[in-house]
């Protein structure tokens, strides 16, 4: 009776642990993704994610819809009064813009900075941001989703989480989002991965 009870307990404990390890392995993509950021990067690398069509208004007041069929693009999320991360993202876009021009890539809108701060980022603020970072409107636009619902759709589709930093600004996951010709989110790159980004754009 006693050894039978011990055997059952060992069996039950082993089953619980096996189920637990299984859940942990599944939720961490085989111990590779403990954070949401790593998980979203792995997920799109494994299977590019189709994106919804979302309308935006750029720094010149022109309407843009992304994704643009047949055109690979890089999308980054910013707010123009951001003193830190967004500056790094803008610097990356500036370098990528230069690289595309040097490579002789035909001028086409392939770089899009999307603001998630409709409260402060009016067209004038978007224009000032574009000018400050040397954006060539033929290749790089700075835009705001047309409505709050469009903004939420876009953030959710790209897996970007924006939270208040407690000092009037925001904290967000900063990355270069590569959208492929098929309008799918195909890769999420660090701001420093210039070569991969240019390669992804076909430059």
């Amino acid at each position: 009776m006693s050894s039978q009870g011990t055997g059952r307990t060992v069996l039950a404990t082993a089953a619980v642990l096996a189920a637990g390890v299984g859940a942990l392995l599944a939720e961490t993509e085989g111990l590779r993704a403990f954070t949401s950021e790593t998980a979203r990067r792995l997920a799109v690398a494994h299977a590019p994610k189709p994106l919804p069509v979302v309308p935006l208004r750029d720094e010149r007041g022109e309407r843009i819809e992304i994704p643009i069929p047949g055109r690979p693009m890089l999308v980054e999320f910013i707010y123009t009064s951001c003193p830190t991360l967004c500056t790094t993202l803008a610097a990356s876009f500036a370098r990528i813009q230069d690289r595309l021009a040097e490579a002789g890539a035909p001028p086409a809108l392939q770089l899009l900075s999307v603001s998630f701060d409709p409260g402060r980022d009016d067209p004038a603020a978007l224009r000032a941001y574009a000018e400050a970072h040397g954006a060539d409107p033929a290749r790089w636009r700075v835009a705001l989703p047309e409505s709050g619902a469009d903004l939420r759709t876009l953030l959710e589709a790209f897996g970007v989480v924006v939270i208040p930093d407690g000092e009037g600004g925001f904290v967000h996951n900063a990355a270069l989002h590569l959208v492929d010709r098929g309008g799918r989110l195909a890769a999420i790159l660090d701001p420093g991965e210039i070569e991969r980004a240019v390669e992804g754009l076909g430059g």
Binding site: T6, T9, T13, G20, T35, V161
Partner: protein, 201 residues
């Protein structure tokens, strides 16, 4: 009679932490520290009060010394402390619901299985848990990246420091308890016998 009443009272009492955890959800989840150090314990406490100190008798042969129940609690706690799961429990309704169901189960398992664990194994588990809390605290403080997208880096630091404080305090309490028990030589071998608590089942 009295025991039945006190168990019933404890079960009624379980509603309080559960309700508090649900009603104050937004406020508790607004900060990483209150999410893990207030909401989690409230849900564990609700489960513990609901279950009471005795596991269902029919589970006895499958849960000698409380081993299976404690494994279940460990697995649930480890899962819900993964940074991406913490994020999901704030942003995804399905995960939020699952958290409010799973953590009370872990609390129930802890309440009814910990007293059944042999003394020596309990000491080992206590040390293991303290070491884990210290390691998690150190990780939260030392890793340069922001682990949870829904929380600030400064909140991660607060949580790391809280884990370290809890680990050090728990270690002192554990050591104090050990020193108090040690002079009573009869206590150790009696409670230390494997599955001694089973005798009461």
């Amino acid at each position: 009679m009295t025991t039945h009443r006190s168990v019933a009272d404890a079960r009624a009492l379980a509603a309080a932490p559960l309700l508090l955890a649900i009603l104050a959800r937004e406020r508790l989840e607004a900060q990483l520290l209150t999410h893990l150090f207030v909401q989690f314990p409230l849900l564990l406490a609700a489960g513990a009060l609901l279950a009471g100190p005795r596991p269902p008798a029919r589970l006895g042969p499958w849960n000698r010394g409380g081993a299976a129940g404690l494994a279940l609690a460990a697995v649930i706690l480890a899962f819900w402390m993964l940074p991406r799961v913490i994020d999901a429990s704030v942003g995804d309704g399905r995960f939020a619901f699952a958290k409010f169901a799973a953590l009370p189960v872990a609390g129930a398992a802890l309440a009814c299985c910990l007293p059944r664990l042999p003394w020596l194994a309990r000491q080992f588990l206590a040390l293991q848990t303290i070491a884990m809390a210290a390691a998690v605290g150190w990780l939260y403080l030392a890793l340069p990246e922001r682990l949870c997208l829904r929380y600030l880096r400064s909140e991660q630091d607060e949580l790391g420091a809280a884990f370290l404080i809890v680990a050090v305090t728990s270690f002192c309490v554990w050591l104090g308890g050990l020193l108090r028990v040690a002079p009573d030589r009869r206590a150790i071998p009696r409670a230390g016998r494997p599955f001694a608590a089973e005798a009461s089942l």
